[in-house]
Symmetry: C2
Subunit: 242 residues, 2 copies
DNA sequence: TCTTTTTTTGAATTATGTTCAAGAACGGAG
DNA sequence: CTCCGTTCTTGAACATAATTCAAAAAAAGA
């Protein structure tokens, strides 16, 4: 009898409903005002029922983050499958991030909070691990591309592990996300399009790490064309406005 | 009569006492367990008195952050005064950060939290502004060094504003601080000394941005020597362990 | 020394996250 | 179909911790 499975499916649906409701509330009232009682009320379940799914409010928040990370990873996976020179594929990570920010504008703001000691520690250990598990493929793909580059002779690691090369790229990207999503910090800089700037700096870093072929970062048209091309070729999207 | 001034001084001292007590509690019990009542108890004032100084718990947290930023800025200011080639001075920012992390190991963990929407928004507008004001000199010094480099002919901006060049460097540094202080994220990478890695990637980025003279990042001895030299020459410190 | 103003105090209030006893729904046995 | 045990759901009650504010104390001024 499929009773057990049907029940399982229903529970899954309910969990998804709770999460979507939480997302809506965050969008409309801000993370600061997210309340368990409000989520319960809005999706017409008792507060206690929420705790059937999540050990705590922080646990719920981490699950939201995890789902975003999975979506993010799906974008990155397209780069793993893309047949293109390694340098274009590794650069594609920045383009994927631009697209992801457009699709999930709240993600980095929320994840900045979720990864803070205070929130992270307050979630269950199992949930934390599941977030880390969701992130692992992203790192793996980046490392894979670096290795491909080495194999293709377009990058010389000179003894540095591929993971450490990635960490530099990752730091640049994460740092820019952080700066962008931290209120008031970017303001004095008056940058029209911070993510385009991120792309440019990423190219500079790749140049500095010795990736072949060299890319002329002062050639705005070439950079825009590359971004545009990756958008359409890998993600079937127009790049237009952020 | 100096009564007014004496009173002002006493209030300042009390505020400092409260902040130091909060710092100790964070160190010993973690940010998660910081409670206003505990702070009050430990420094032998009533809870209400804390609210004479800080509009909220978050306000207090931002003031702690602000004080750290001021200390950080003092380190960076030494680079502004240091007479050395621009490339060494801009690189010094990474060394200053290494030193600052050693002196205030809790800072970046705390500031990651403080700059989150949830905490940031819950503090008073005045306090937020004071934090931004404390950060301004750091950016100004970095921009100044970039301009010096251009003036000295060791960097060609090719039309990019100096602020935007800095933002790339800043993103790399901020990103690495974040990765280091986010539990579990660095673990799979097994990096022995992430801040040394940050230094290396910063040099790669400077190379990629075209800073002269070129620095060979695969020359470990040269990198260590430079870090060591900045430690002693600019900060009167040994670099040794982090 | 008395009056007024300012400051301090901490018990009471408020806001929310979390629990758990009571009852409803379900599933299987007879 | 009905009974009985099990599992799930409910939301009022509880627990915690931030914040307030009326009363008391201290300071300033006359």
């Amino acid at each position: 009898m499929g009773t057990r499975e049907r029940r399982q499916r229903e529970l899954g649906n309910r969990e998804q409903l709770i999460l979507e409701t939480a997302r809506e509330l965050i969008r409309s009232e801000g993370l600061l005002n997210l309340q368990m009682a409000r989520i319960a009320e809005k999706c017409e379940y008792a507060v206690g029922t929420l705790y059937q799914h999540f050990a705590s409010k922080e646990d719920l928040l981490l699950e939201l983050t995890r789902q975003d990370v999975v979506e993010h990873a799906e974008l990155i996976e397209r780069l793993a499958r893309w047949r293109a020179p390694p340098r274009e594929r590794i650069f594609g990570i920045a383009v994927a991030d631009m697209l992801f920010v457009r699709r999930s504008p709240d993600h980095f703001r929320m994840s900045q909070y979720a990864f803070c000691e205070v929130v992270w520690t307050a979630a269950s250990a199992a949930r934390r691990q599941s977030v880390l598990d969701a992130e692992a493929p992203i790192a793996a793909i980046a490392v894979g591309i670096v290795n491909d580059a080495v194999a293709a002779g377009s990058l010389d690691l000179r003894g540095m592990p591929a993971e450490q090369v990635c960490l530099g790229l990752w730091a640049l990207v994460v740092g820019m996300h952080n700066l962008v999503h931290t209120e008031g910090v970017m303001h004095p800089f008056a940058v029209p399009d911070p993510y385009r700037l991120m792309c440019r700096h990423l190219q500079s870093l790749l140049n500095g790490q010795g990736w072949q072929p060299y890319f002329d970062v002062s050639d705005d048209a070439a950079l825009d064309a590359l971004i545009q091309r990756i958008f359409t070729e890998v993600f079937d999207e127009q790049c237009c406005e952020v």
